[in-house]
Amino acid sequence: MSNLMIALEITALGMGLVFAAIILLWWIMVLLTWITAEKESTAPPLSPPRLGEMQGGDNARVAALAVAFALAQQEMENAHPLSDPPTALVSAWQLGMRTQQLYQKGERLNRQPRKIG
């Protein structure tokens, strides 16, 4: 049986296996999210709302925020390929991008303490 035939068989089997696994994974994810759907609210501290909520805090905290923000922004500027990459897609994706950036800023803000402690 020629090598090529074997290769084709591998391809058939391998891709079959991968597709099977991917579809299985898909179901698992659907199931997982469906089961845990009740208890929503993931780590509020990570989400932008916190910013607002925190501004209310004492001055010291506000200062901390200010700095963290300044740095975050600065990073955004310094970050070399921050402008959309050559493969940048339509605005829907940029929206997603920004969401995640906000998410990251939030994260950065509340990582801060750990980092310093």
Partner: protein, 362 residues
């Protein structure tokens, strides 16, 4: 001993210098130039280039078995430790919530497979033995550590060219993809706006996900366990939120050191003697092809999904399905617009390892 007998000793460096060394050093400088000036995968191409430089300095001894590079190779490449540690770090940087929010996107990960198997078949057609062909095919996984992991396992003799192909092409995606995108999709299709309103994912789901995936994939495709499990371990450290220290260690110390040493040792395998041969050129060719196939397959797959979804899916995301996940060294900001890519490493690694497994079976 007199001066006459010492001179050749003093000049042995120059006397052992070959044209091959000169060529490889030029390659090394080129790689470093791409890394520094064009910022193409600098965290990997810079060390690889430097390692290549060292490998072509005659009698330097750095790349000898007992030299530093030899020591690092035995410590981290033969043991597959470096790529796996990189995966731990990458896992700790990935955010799976976008995938969990829209599970059907997982299908896009399958597109990457066409590149792998297409290349595999071609490599065999050209006459590579199965183990080598499988390793070459994995370039189509468009994922450096995976390629290195599989090559180190199945065909260490091809490690250098495969690693170079994987990383340099991975960085060429911005150049390779757009024309194919324009060619294969209509302006109307590219204009499709997808509503991005994922339902909130509970912390529980995010924490359970890496455990379940490790378990399920581990049982289905044992050979995929190492890569998947380390990726998921890193992710678990991050999402669990109770081991900040370990998560930070994975995202910094561990991945940075592993990346630096990985790059150096891979580059150090690029000695003129071992690298300058037909196989290398073939592999570079096949690698480029693998990337092309991936993109085309991804786009067609995207179009299919677009049609099936009644044009509510933008086919361009099909191309995203095949693309590389954020390399360790990228700035966090860059990760942001990779969110749709993040989701597919899993499948890449799986595909990669399935091919690897089957290849090794025979």
């Amino acid at each position: 001993m007199d001066l006459a007998s010492l001179l050749p000793e003093l000049l042995k460096g120059i006397l052992h210098f070959t044209w091959g060394n000169a060529l490889m050093i030029t390659t090394a400088l080129a790689l470093m130039y791409l890394a520094v000036a064009k910022e193409i995968e600098p965290v990997l191409l810079l060390p690889i280039g430097f390692g290549c430089l060292l490998a072509n300095i005659p009698m330097g001894g750095m790349t000898a078995a007992e030299g530093m590079m030899g020591v690092l190779y035995d410590a981290g490449i033969s043991t597959e430790l470096f790529p796996l540690l990189i995966f731990v770090g990458v896992g700790a940087m990935i955010d799976f919530s976008p995938l969990l929010a829209q599970p059907k996107m997982a299908l896009l990960g399958a597109a990457g497979q066409f590149g792998i198997f297409g290349t595999l078949i071609l490599a065999i057609a050209i006459g590579f033995p199965l183990n080598q062909a499988a390793s070459i095919g994995v370039i189509g996984a468009i994922d450096g550590p995976t390629s290195i992991f599989v090559a180190a396992k199945l065909a260490p003799e091809l490690l250098a060219p495969i690693a170079v192909a994987a990383y340099s092409y991975m960085s060429l995606i911005p150049i390779i993809q757009p024309p194919l995108m324009k060619l294969l999709t209509t302006k109307k299709e590219r204009m499709i706006r997808m509503d991005y309103m994922p339902k909130p994912i509970s912390q529980k789901a995010l924490i359970a996900f890496p455990m379940i995936v490790t378990l399920v994939i581990g049982l289905l495709i044992p050979e995929a366990t190492p890569l998947i499990s380390m990726l998921m371990l890193g992710n678990l450290l991050k999402v669990s939120g109770v081991v900040e220290r370990l998560s930070k260690a994975a995202q910094n110390e561990i991945i940075n050191i592993a990346t630096l040493f990985l790059g150096l040792t891979i580059g150090a395998t690029m000695s003129a003697a071992g690298f300058l041969n037909l196989a290398t050129i073939q592999i570079l060719g096949l690698g480029l092809l693998a990337f092309g196939l991936d993109t085309v397959a991804g786009l067609l797959f995207g179009k299919l999904m677009s049609v099936l979804s009644g044009h509510r899916i933008n086919p361009l995301i099909g191309a995203a399905g095949i693309s590389a996940f954020p390399m360790a060294g990228r700035l966090a900001a860059k990760v942001a617009n990779d969110e749709d890519f993040d989701n597919f490493i899993l499948m890449h690694a799986m595909g990669a390892n399935t091919a690897g497994q089957l290849g090794s079976v025979m």
